[in-house]
Symmetry: C2
Subunit: 150 residues, 2 copies
DNA sequence: ATACAAATAGATAATCATTATTTGTTACCC
DNA sequence: GGGTAACAAATAATGATTATCTATTTGTAT
């Protein structure tokens, strides 16, 4: 797992890539590193508002872009209106509840290497990356007997 | 394969779902059914311009939404700025060339049932759907020795 | 064939996530 | 500590998609 790096390590990584270290960037990373809720930019912005009331949404976006560039975060696209972000940069699948919209990780091994290999053989592509997304009803929504919403 | 239904079958499906059959909707389906390029709304619009010069982009969007609703097309989200559409409504993975941006199908069996099952066990979700996307360099771009672009 | 009611197409404006721009401020190498 | 390049904040711009509004077209019953 690559989550929750110490501030020192984050600082070092940013400097390595020629970016300056700012409180805003550390704060955005901190939010990401302490949640598994895969928030989007707006949510991160809301969460930081009480502590950084002058920070603008654009700054959150720029911080996220930089965190992704230096390998401290990844951008998730689950077919929603907005991107989500994840401080766990390993290539794991995600599950999205079609009822409440929450997104969870799948950290177990789904033999993705074999799938990449088969995809390569079938298409002739040199596969460099993949995204596997699952959709379904989360345990809480099943318990609540709720139907499909999102 | 569910591609290239005859116009009669498309007509029937639309009526079954309470939609009226219009030349515009048939034309949009026709474009989708005769390509494997997974075009987006704008591309479909451009393609139809010569034949339907008065059709607006909004009409293309509405036609695509209806085609998806009646099961004649599916919406693809490959992390690009716009959605792509596919008249092959089976749940197959796609490969996107990170060099030229083209998107191809993977129709072979990647044992997705097993993966869905494992995801269900690990997360407790009732899995209802999934999207697997691969990214890589397509054969043509490999041949051309082109680097990563998109 | 004709007419009528409901749905649609086209034109255009609105929306909303994200990105660019501008300008004053801050981090950090010296 | 000072100078400079990078930055944050505010704001405008962008671009895909959706909503609105009205004239037209479709499906159907005469």
């Amino acid at each position: 797992m690559k989550t929750r790096l110490k501030s020192k390590e984050v600082t070092a990584l940013l400097r390595e890539h020629g970016f300056k270290v700012t409180p805003q960037r550390l704060a955005v990373y901190d939010v990401l590193a302490h949640t598994t809720a895969h928030p989007n930019a707006e949510t991160i912005y809301q969460e930081l508002q009480p502590y950084y009331p002058t920070m603008s949404l654009a700054t959150v976006y720029k911080a996220l872009a930089i965190l992704c560039e230096v390998g401290l975060a990844q951008e998730l696209n689950l077919g929603e209106e907005a991107f989500r972000y994840d401080a766990n940069t390993s290539h794991h699948p995600h599950v999205r509840c079609t009822c409440c919209g929450r997104v969870d990780d799948i950290m177990g091994n789904l033999s993705s290497e074999a799938m990449e290999q088969q995809a390569a053989v079938e298409t002739g592509y040199a596969i460099t990356d993949h995204q596997y997304y699952f959709f379904g009803i989360c345990p809480e929504c099943q318990k609540a007997g709720k139907g499909e919403k999102h």
